[in-house]
């Protein structure tokens, strides 16, 4: 596997604000990579540096084997971009914008353009100023998805879409994966990332705090356990990996690090288990834990 995007030690400041602080990011060719983070974490800044729209203060960024600042035009021939804030020219129709961006990119796949317009239920005859936020986003999505490029860079592409269109979007991204394209999907919608992404990087305050496959990340999460025991719980308090323990008589509730599950369960069994419910770890918990730490 080669890296489609490889970023290391990236720093970008805007006046006194340090938007990116020693950022590392690695996106493998052919994968759908989730780029998760709250508003203002530095997702769009990273993407704009990758597109050569901003210049990094220090660190290196490689995109499809080239330098995003120096080889801008050559690299842009091989990628398509959907911005988070899609603003269209008020007097151009959606169809005109799709065709313009396609032509600038060196041509677009006409049958796919028609197919996507149908799937997204987008009327290409409307003028830019009459589209809603979601429809403007669809214009940018159709333009990007109907061009034959190696890499798709999508910055919160579904923030204005309704749940039906969100489903269409997920289908489309799965199609792109089958075509062998690389996708960098910035998002703060966890369900979307869980449904689509092979690997995920979580950014916080301009710094990547976790990166890995979903199952790797799940190992970092905690399982919630609540149980009714035959006798009083013994020794749970002192066990490594047990958090937020609440004991009321023979009932216990606690959270346990996923990699400490086995010894903790053995300890429970030694007290005799009457009922047991466990909630599987979700990405959301990991996500929230990282964000709450940030506060």
């Amino acid at each position: 596997m080669t890296s489609a995007i490889s970023v290391s030690g990236l720093v970008k400041t805007f006046g006194p604000t340090r938007a990116l602080d020693d950022l590392f990011l690695d996106v493998q060719t052919g994968e759908v990579h989730g780029f998760l983070g709250p508003n203002g974490a530095g997702k769009s800044t990273t993407i704009r540096i990758l597109l050569g729209l901003l210049r990094a203060d220090s660190g290196t960024a490689r995109l499809l084997g080239g330098d995003p600042w120096k080889d801008t035009a050559a690299l842009h021939r091989r990628l398509a971009y959907v911005p988070g804030d899609v603003n269209l020219w008020p007097n151009l129709t959606g169809g005109e914008v799709i065709d313009l961006l396609g032509r600038l990119r060196g041509g677009l796949n006409k049958p796919r353009r028609e197919e996507l317009l149908e799937r997204f239920e987008l009327d290409p005859r409307k003028k830019g100023r009459t589209y809603s936020k979601g429809n403007r986003q669809k214009v940018a999505l159709v333009a990007a998805l109907s061009s034959d490029v190696e890499l798709l860079i999508l910055d919160e592409p579904t923030s204005g879409l309704d749940p039906l269109m969100e489903a269409v979007f997920q289908d489309c991204i799965n199609d792109e994966r089958e075509r062998g394209r690389t996708v960098l999907l910035s998002s703060h919608i966890l369900a979307e990332v869980e449904a689509l992404c092979d690997r995920v990087s979580i950014i916080r305050n301009g710094h990547i705090v976790e990166t890995g496959t979903l199952s790797e990340l799940r190992h970092l999460t905690r399982t919630s356990i609540s149980a009714e025991l035959a006798g009083p719980p013994n020794g749970l308090t002192s066990m490594a990996g047990v958090h937020d323990l609440v004991a009321e008589g023979n009932r216990v509730r606690f959270e346990v690090d996923s990699d400490k599950l086995d010894p903790v369960l053995k300890q429970l069994v030694s007290s005799g288990v009457r009922t047991l419910t466990s909630q599987p770890p979700t990405l959301e918990e990991l996500f929230l834990r990282h964000y709450e730490d940030a506060k």
């Binding site: 729209l53 169809g95 005109e96 065709d99 600038l104 290409p124 003028k127």
Partner: protein, 527 residues
């Protein structure tokens, strides 16, 4: 209407530069015009002479209207400046109203405001208060300027209020056109078109003097200002007409506001083509800029035609009048006076064109701040190409606009003097000689865009300073080094056009442009 007070404060805060500039400009011109006329026509004889020529010359009548009272300085000021003062105040009112109503709605900000404790009519009311209030303020200050020149108070206020009344009418007109379309440019275009018709109706009514269709002027808000006959009769009752028009148009607009959805207009948006033919940055820039280029070309052609038609009258005036003829013959005769007239006019055309150039360059910045440049620059195009696609409209487009004005001048003057073959190319050349100076101004705008994107608005200050220095500098007897600040000072005066200064002005422009290009290639996109 709840919340109007806060919205007025918001509008004043947003326009804290724009409005004072308008007020200072219009009051300043009133002062300088009065001073100039005082010096030029100090004696009763010279005024009587002007009175006869002004009312007998259809070009003057069409451009400025009749001179009702030549006996007082106030009457001369009303004649020379009244129509144009009204025109400028109307433009100010139109831009302010649209900016705070339809443009806000189009940008989605009205939605944000309307969701707070703000009455349905508050945004419209605030815009009307700000635009109407500024019109009245300008009118009152103009009156005070005239009173400061020891002119009769009732005449001064008749003048001030009549020019302000045009602002009030167009406050109402723009409040109405803002209801029609979803697009603020269209609102301005409709209101601006109506202003043009208003001026032309009055020009047509006045041009033939008493034998012509003078009743036409009663249908024009600018014509009403003439019927007030400031300083001559001070007919204040005529001002009831603009007042009624203001109340009626604002009332209708307020009624429409209660009937329509926020964000929508009365004119339904039409569907466009499902497929596009634009395939390049230049194609896109052409689509975005052509309306402005064509509009400016037509407008400057028209300005050229108007001035071209006055030129002959300048010569005629001397021939008709032996006294004036004697004076003028000392400075080179009627021909020299016509040449001086053309030198001034072409300089003015160059200055007006520089406004177009700056506007064309600043389109780059508005594309950048509205995030529309971003998806374009994420395609395989160079930054250089994107800047060039718009800059070409400033550079080559400026040539087109100036050529149109030169053609207008040359065509009319050439036809009048039966010498189109000579005069046409001469006027075209004289107009195009202004191009390098206009390029310098465009160069400054591009330099700011490339190196200091947050300061691109300073370009307008550069334009204004050049305008003031060039138009008023000699009259204000500024030092030479101050005059030299404006690139237009360095353009050789018609008819002695030499290429040396034009060449070095072009070099300066090229250096500024190159620095702007280089700066933009190295900087971050910012908003």
């Amino acid at each position: 209407m709840i919340g109007t007070r806060h919205l007025v404060r918001l509008a004043l805060r947003r326009d804290r530069i724009l409005l004072p500039v308008w007020v200072l400009f219009l009051v300043g011109v009133t002062y300088s015009t009065t001073t100039a006329l005082e010096e030029l026509y100090g004696t009763t004889e010279s005024r009587a002479l002007l009175g006869v020529t002004a009312n007998a010359n259809s070009a003057f009548l069409a451009m400025l209207g009749p001179l009702h009272d030549w006996s007082s300085l106030g009457g001369l000021v009303v004649w020379r400046w009244g129509v144009f003062s009204g025109l400028f105040i109307a433009i100010m009112a139109m831009l302010v109203v649209t900016r705070h109503t339809r443009a806000e709605e189009e940008a989605g900000r009205t939605e944000l405001i309307s969701a707070t404790v703000v009455g349905r009519h508050a945004p419209l009311a605030a815009a009307v208060i700000v635009a109407g209030g500024t019109s009245l303020l300008i009118g009152v200050l103009q009156a005070l300027v005239l009173m400061g020149k020891d002119l009769d108070a009732s005449g001064a206020f008749a003048f001030g209020l009549s020019t302000a009344s045009v602002g009030l009418v167009f406050t109402g007109v723009s409040a109405f056109t803002a209801q029609l379309s979803e697009n603020s440019r269209v609102s301005n275009a409709i209101a601006g078109g109506f202003l043009g018709v208003t001026y032309l109706l009055r020009a047509a009514g006045d041009a033939a003097g008493e034998s012509g269709p003078q009743w036409l002027t009663w249908f024009s808000p600018i014509g009403w200002t003439e019927h007030v006959r400031s300083f001559a009769d001070n007919r204040f009752w005529v001002l009831l007409l603009p007042l009624a028009a203001f109340v009626l148009s604002v009332g209708v607009s307020a009624y429409i506001v209660t009937r329509r959805d926020v964000g929508l207009g009365l004119l339904a948006a039409r569907l466009g083509p499902p497929h596009g033919t634009i395939g390049s940055l230049f194609g896109l820039a052409w689509r975005l800029q052509k309306g402005s280029l064509i509009g400016w070309s037509i407008a400057l052609f028209a300005v050229g035609v108007i001035y071209g038609s006055v030129a002959q009258a300048v010569g005629q005036m001397v021939q008709d009048n032996p006294t004036l003829g004697q004076i003028v013959s000392k400075i080179g005769g009627a021909e020299a006076m016509v040449d001086a007239f053309f030198a001034t006019v072409t300089q003015l055309l160059g200055l007006i064109t520089s406004i177009y150039l700056v506007q064309a360059v600043l389109r780059l910045r508005s594309e950048e701040t509205s995030f529309r440049a971003e998806p374009l620059l994420a395609t395989p195009v160079s930054r250089w190409g994107w800047v060039a696609s718009h800059a070409v409209f400033a550079l080559a487009g400026g040539a087109v606009v100036l050529a149109a004005s030169g053609l207008g001048l040359g065509l009319v003057y050439g036809l009048q003097t039966d010498d189109l073959g000579t005069v046409g190319p001469q006027m075209l050349g004289a107009a195009l000689a202004q191009l390098p100076a206009a390029w310098v101004i465009a160069g400054v705008a591009l330099l700011l865009f490339g190196l200091f994107p947050q300061l691109t608005g300073v370009s307008w200050a550069v334009v204004s300073v050049s305008l003031v220095i060039t138009l008023l500098g000699p009259a204000l007897q500024l030092d030479q080094w101050m005059l030299d600040v404006s690139p237009f000072t360095h353009v050789p005066k018609y008819p002695d056009i030499t290429f040396g200064p034009l060449a070095w002005l072009t070099v300066v422009a090229v250096v500024l442009l190159a620095a702007g290009f280089a700066g933009f290639r190295r900087r971050d996109l910012t908003t």
